[in-house]
């Protein structure tokens, strides 16, 4: 079937198309070369509309054990946002930790066609993929969490051959069906189990005698040599701690030019200036990021209201448990593999700390020059639920709107922020880079995030509303793999997206020591730890797409 989208103003930065009127042809789910002579089966007149590739969220907690703990924990939060079944869609609940179906519908209704769960514990990978399988509409993928798992820390501590470390990292990616690797509070989740309450970049883990710096360097290097496209995704040391800007900057310097992605930097960019010993480190972060082409970041913007923080960082989540709202934090130590902490949180615009967090996030967005290395996230649901993205986009694109919002926050926080002095307004091109082309490029999704020939027919059509919040909240149309799935911001057809994975090469010989290790210490057999393709796709849960990796390089 041939579909023609005609007359729309196209923003496709990956193909250097900026607001030009173009016709787009989609056949059998893929974008094809223009065929002006062919008679399309369907034509959509997009005159006056803005056309972009479907948006991609590279960091959103939507599937896996900690999200189901959060869902279970917060019946009162669901109450305000219960959704009935329709002829097309399932019932469910929304707000801070939406049910799986609702997460998929609402992402699609906001013009998103792919979402990536950034914190999949290998021990919990099977369940994470089950939940992602029950998340319709969008493509998805997950990052395997490493760096506090006993096997890897043992390898480092015993100074095992680096090739063996690479084999293990690759094996975990296969076994857990991951597309990338994330490290969370490097070594710190494990250290917390040994009752260490903080672990700075160069502080030794009491048991393994390795430091976060070593963990980061080994993982970043391993991924580089394995040819995995997405660089090591780093949630660094000291999340949320005033003064953590120092360890964040040190972490960037520690990469020694290796490509790394620093995630939810808003939570990692705090200084200790001022009466309250809490200040913005955004300018210092942006300065270093701007001159370090090996670094990409996402922000983890805070927005005001009730949400729930959910992180693998059990050490830091325990530390903030006293700020829980409502007061019911959950912390878990998991399988000598990882951990998690789920802490409900209400960000208040009249709170100095929360208001400054909001300003730090916006400062970061506006001070980092290169949108190709900056992705739009709230670290859903940690900074705010993902439904706040359209509002966030308007804050970035509309200086006077931003100034009005700034006037409403805590006045001490106003005095501590340089936000009003920043005049930048994001352009539609930059938004398209930050929410489409950039994440696709970073994650190695060859056929997503752009509208060139051969790309998937994941296309979002917006009304060109000068109120950018309204524009991005309610797309006129969303196409998924060439099918019209959303009209005027409502799901009209439910589809199942694919699961993206990356499969770097490894030496199967690693399974010998691993099998022995599982038998001696674990409660699961190695063979059962591994997640089969069949488990992901069975029951019409969408295909698996293996994204390419570069050839494995020797050390």
């Amino acid at each position: 079937m041939l579909i023609k989208l005609t007359g729309g103003k196209v923003y496709d930065p990956a193909n250097k198309v900026s607001g030009e009127i173009r016709d787009i042809y989609v056949e059998d789910g893929k974008i094809v070369a223009p065929r002006p002579d062919a008679k399309p089966d369907q034509t959509y007149d997009l005159k006056g509309k803005v056309v972009m590739a479907g948006a991609i969220d590279p960091h959103t907690h939507i599937g896996g054990g900690k999200m189901t703990i959060a869902r279970m924990l917060l019946p009162e939060d669901h109450l305000g946002d219960l959704v009935a079944r329709t002829d097309v869609t399932h019932a469910g609940c929304g707000h801070a930790v939406p049910s799986t179906h609702l997460a998929g519908y609402r992402y699609a209704e906001m013009g998103y066609t792919a979402c990536f769960e950034p914190a999949m514990l290998p021990a919990n990978a099977r369940q994470a993929h089950m939940e992602l399988g029950d998340t319709p509409m969008v493509d998805k993928g997950a990052f395997a969490m490493l760096g506090s798992d006993d096997y890897f820390l043992r390898q480092l501590s015993e100074k095992q051959d680096f090739e063996a470390i690479k084999d293990y990292v690759a094996w975990i990616m296969h076994a857990s069906q991951a597309i990338a690797v994330k490290v969370v509070n490097p070594g710190g989740i494990s250290a917390f189990k040994f009752n260490q309450r903080k672990l700075d970049l160069d502080e030794e883990h009491v048991y393994y005698k390795v430091t976060p710096r070593q963990i980061i360097l080994n993982l970043a290097r391993a991924l580089g040599e394995l040819g995995v496209t997405h660089p090591l995704h780093i949630h660094g040391c000291n999340l949320g701690v005033p003064g953590n800007i120092e360890s964040t900057l040190d972490t960037i310097r520690a990469a020694e030019g290796l490509r790394i992605h620093m995630t939810h930097t808003q939570f990692m960019s705090y200084g200790t200036e001022g009466d309250k010993k809490f200040s913005s480190g955004a300018a210092r972060l942006a300065e270093l990021v701007n001159k370090s082409p090996n670094i990409s970041i996402d922000v983890g913007q805070v927005m005001f209201g009730q949400t729930c923080t959910a992180s693998g960082d059990s050490m830091r989540q325990y530390a903030i448990a006293k700020s829980a709202h409502p007061k019911k934090p959950v912390v878990m130590d998991i399988e000598c593999d990882a951990g998690c902490g789920v802490v409900p949180m209400r960000y208040r615009d009249k709170s100095f700390v929360n208001a400054l967090q909001w300003a730090i996030g916006l400062e970061t967005f506006l001070l980092v020059d290169d949108p190709w290395r900056m992705f739009l996230t709230t670290d859903h649901p940690n900074g705010a639920p993902f439904y706040t993205y359209p509002h966030l986009i308007r804050l970035l694109m509309d200086k006077s709107f931003r100034d009005d919002a700034f006037q409403k926050i805590n006045t001490d926080a106003q005095a501590a922020s340089i936000l009003p002095t920043i005049t930048r307004e994001y352009t539609l091109d930059e938004i398209a880079i930050m929410t489409r082309a950039g994440p696709a490029h970073s994650l190695g999704l060859k056929d997503r995030g752009h509208l060139g020939v051969g790309a998937a027919g994941d296309i979002t059509v917006y009304k060109d509303d000068p109120n950018r919040e309204a524009m991005f909240a309610t797309p006129a149309m969303v196409f998924k793999d060439g099918e019209l799935v959303v009209r005027d911001g409502k799901v009209v057809k439910v589809v199942q997206g694919a699961t993206h994975v990356a499969r770097p090469e490894y030496d199967k010989g690693i399974e010998k020591p691993l099998e022995d290790y599982f038998d001696r210490f674990h409660t699961v057999r190695m063979e059962n730890f591994k997640l089969a393709d069949e488990e992901i796709v069975k029951g019409d849960k969408g295909a698996i797409i293996v994204q390419p990796t570069k050839e494995r390089a020797a050390a």
Partner: protein, 432 residues
């Protein structure tokens, strides 16, 4: 003699087939190191078995057929009749829910479509935990973490070995540990009377017993928390447990590198047992500022953990949800199916029990549809019976372990040609 070898999973000899790395679905800890041999339709657990797994895998299935009001019918007729009853019901109750992930997904979809209520048969016990989680939160551990790290295990009011025959061998008193915390280097404290037999045989370094009734465990832990906070207590005698016992336990707690408090909510079978669980969670919380402690909650048989997790990610709630109004309407009191049946609420019971033949629906006057393992004793109220397979025996599947973190694949051991719950429930939904 023809031989074939499937990698890592099964070896075939004449007429028999050996399955390796088999996951046992018959209790909540899902041991996955079993070897099971099949000859014809007879299974034998030949390695890593326990009483429960042997009883489960080796049970001989009686012949069984779909039935409508006691009369054998073809499957299609039974499915059509079930669809008719569900379609006509004002408020169908989806109970039992002893199934696997796929079965639970299907049951949720059918309950939503038909405006029904979902609740697992074991949720009375599970809610002793959920009420605490949803009120004050908690800190938890998992099986592998406890196996390798716990130097102090406090078992509260629970006969763990009766629930999980291999718990001591695999978790509480392992031969090897990642961090050298082997059985000999562990202390186990049993709070409860007559519950320490398995712990005594486990060969741990130290065993301490504070005998009291399960109803008094909360008080013992309350006294312990008071002493750990430095309060004076006069004349402590909690069902025989004295102040010196409490203080000795307080010392053990302070010395622990990683303490784990173990309980199974089914053990606290008395009114408002959530307050006992609250004391256990509170003990962990009290100790947390200066040392590491965590809970490990057990039980979770009959797919209970799976049902709660799947229901939660699909609806937002750990069961006790009604879809009567179209939205998932959560009310842990009102949507308790055992209460609804007692008080004649609901007009149809749909009961799912795929593991044990003893997992029978409660007596009720309302019409009942049973999707059950063959051999289940059906109540008189049964209008439709459809025999179904056991996940991990008759068909492949997945279950979530009692720690709500790890899930395991279940193999098709080819015992009987019985359909999975998911297939039957989906067929019923399609026929609505």
């Amino acid at each position: 003699m023809p031989t074939s070898t499937a990698p890592g999973s099964s070896r075939e000899r004449a007429n028999t087939k050996l399955f390796e790395d088999v996951t046992c679905p018959f209790c909540g800890i899902l041991c996955d190191d079993l070897e099971v041999e099949r000859s014809g339709d007879i299974l034998e657990v030949v390695k890593s078995g326990c009483g429960k797994s042997k009883a489960g895998f080796e049970r001989k299935l009686p012949p069984s057929s779909p039935q409508i009001r006691g009369k054998d019918v073809p499957l299609a007729e039974a499915v059509a009749e079930a669809a008719k009853l569900i379609g006509e019901a004002e408020l169908p109750l989806f109970g039992g829910l002893a199934t696997d992930v796929e079965g639970m997904r299907a049951a949720m979809a059918l309950a939503e479509r038909s405006g029904g209520v979902v609740d697992h048969a074991a949720s009375q016990a599970q809610y002793r935990n959920f009420k605490v989680l949803q009120s004050v939160g908690w800190t938890m551990s998992t099986l592998t973490e406890t196996r390798n790290r716990a130097d102090l295990i406090i078992i509260a009011g629970t006969d763990v070995a009766a629930l999980h025959h291999r718990f001591f061998e695999k978790i509480a008193a392992p031969r090897e540990s990642m961090f050298g915390v082997t059985a000999k280097k562990r202390t186990i404290v049993v709070v409860g009377k007559g519950l320490d037999k398995a712990a005594r045989q486990a060969g741990v370094g130290e065993l301490v017993t504070l005998p009291c009734k399960p109803e008094r465990v909360g008080e013992v832990i309350g006294a312990l928390r008071a002493r750990l906070r430095g309060f004076r207590l006069n004349k402590v005698d909690i069902d025989g447990v004295k102040l010196a016992d409490i203080d000795a336990l307080a010392d053990l707690c302070r010395k622990a590198a990683y303490g784990v408090v173990v309980w199974a909510p089914p053990a606290f079978d008395f009114p408002h047992a959530e307050f006992t669980v609250d004391q256990l969670a509170g003990l962990i919380k009290d100790l947390a500022p200066i040392q590491r402690f965590a809970g490990l909650t057990l039980g979770g048989s009959e797919g209970a953990t799976t049902a709660a997790s799947v229901a939660t990610w699909l609806s937002g709630y750990p069961m006790r949800v009604s879809y009567a109004s179209g939205v998932p309407d959560f009310d842990p009191y009102r949507c308790d199916i055992s209460r609804m049946l007692r008080e004649s609420e609901g007009d149809l019971l749909v009961w799912i029990g795929s593991y044990s033949p003893d997992f029978v629906p409660p007596a009720t006057k309302i019409p009942t549809i049973v999707l059950g393992t063959p051999g289940m004793k059906l109540p008189k109220s049964t209008d439709v019976f459809i025999p179904i397979g056991t996940p991990g025996v008759d068909h492949a599947g997945r279950l979530i372990r009692v720690d709500s973190v790890v899930s395991l694949p279940l193999k098709n051991l080819g015992r009987a040609e019985l359909p999975p719950v998911a297939d039957i429930v989906s067929a019923i939904e399609a026929a609505l």
